[in-house]
Symmetry: C2
DNA sequence: ATAACGCTATGACAGCCGTCATAATAGACC
DNA sequence: GGTCTATTATGACGGCTGTCATAGCGTTAT
């Protein structure tokens, strides 16, 4: 997740996501992004002729792709794949980060939605797309574990909703309690939705 | 929820919550709040000597109290109180508002957390308190319905986490799908946690 | 009448914001 | 060398921000 050793453009997109995660979209200045990425200020209007909105949208897209890709890795790391195990891994990524690095950073997609849903149609759409590229792999994984195809997308949405909400509560409380709670309470429900093959 | 017919101070707190709901904390200017409340600009530094932070914190507190009070009303309106019924009512409040008034406004507590958790300890604390004054009545209601006392707070946290997350997704998608989904998928789990008396 | 008090009015301050215009640099290719 | 392209540098613009200082009004109380 270090995002170093890439081109200055990619570094800026990554830095934008990182700063949006912390203070929200409005509090994130373009000059701050360039500085955080170690990129020259003059590159801003060169790489992002669409202005701040373009930069924010790309950061949101990056975050969505990042979350989607993580699903496959979580799956591969599980000794035996179960829905509850996948959910615990997704939650664990957040509890680990909170406990290790503090509660200053949340989900950039949620931050962009909260700050821009009412003002920028493009950013709102980018956020919806990001949620879709996150929910898709989760639903696919559930299906592979034996969850009926008609149920998997709904459960994936439930999982991500619970995580997003628990992230917010955890940041407010400075405690991972909400995250561990949703993992514990939701796990049995998820595993119970698996239909044995045959 | 109209907040009219109150003193100018209360109107400003209410207006602050209303504007924060839409654009986030950083995008909400104090002059905007006064204008939205129909209050004179000169009253800002008189009623809120603690500056913007004080105003935001009071708006967050107001929102928490509002959400907490709604729980008792939902309960009273239910023909026969069940956990799934309460949850459906809580979700229904949001789906109704989204369908009637559009997707421009979310939860002010979540917005304040996303925007200020890393920068203002007081606001972060106010958000945590708001979540507590919301979760408390929900847990109490569950308990009265027969949910074991040891389980009720956890389920209340799960309910609110799922709602908060679904609100964000719904706003991004401009669709109540996420909200109706969590209500449908979580309802049976909640009702199943009721232990018959005896 | 005079004083006190609750509230409002107004203007200014420094600072940051996104955006634009324009010039300068550096390297590659012919 | 000349030319073209890719990238960067720099400065300025208008506008908005939260905050402060200070004066003003209108009512009430003494």
């Amino acid at each position: 997740m270090t995002g170093s050793e890439r081109g200055p453009r990619e570094r800026m997109v990554f830095s934008a996501a990182q700063l949006i995660r912390r203070g929200g979209v409005t509090a994130t200045g373009m000059r701050d992004v360039a500085a955080h990425a170690g990129a020259p200020r003059g590159s801003l209007q060169y790489y992002f002729p669409g202005g701040k909105e373009q930069m924010v949208n790309e950061a949101v897209g990056w975050a969505g792709r990042y979350a989607g890709n993580r699903v496959a890795r979580f799956l591969a790391a599980l000794p035996e794949p179960t829905p509850a195990g996948l959910f615990a891994a997704m939650v664990g990524q957040w509890t680990d980060e909170f406990l290790a690095s503090g509660y200053d950073a949340g989900c950039p997609v949620a931050a962009a939605t909260v700050d821009c849903a009412g003002t920028s149609a493009a950013t709102r759409s980018a956020a919806a797309a990001a949620f879709a590229t996150w929910t898709g792999p989760v639903a696919g994984a559930l299906e592979e574990m034996g969850v009926p195809a008609g149920r998997a997308p709904a459960l994936a949405t439930l999982m991500i909703s619970a995580i997003e909400g628990a992230i917010v509560i955890a940041r407010a409380e400075r405690d991972v309690r909400a995250l561990t709670t949703v993992a514990r309470e939701l796990g049995p429900l998820l595993d119970a939705s698996v239909v044995p093959p045959g």
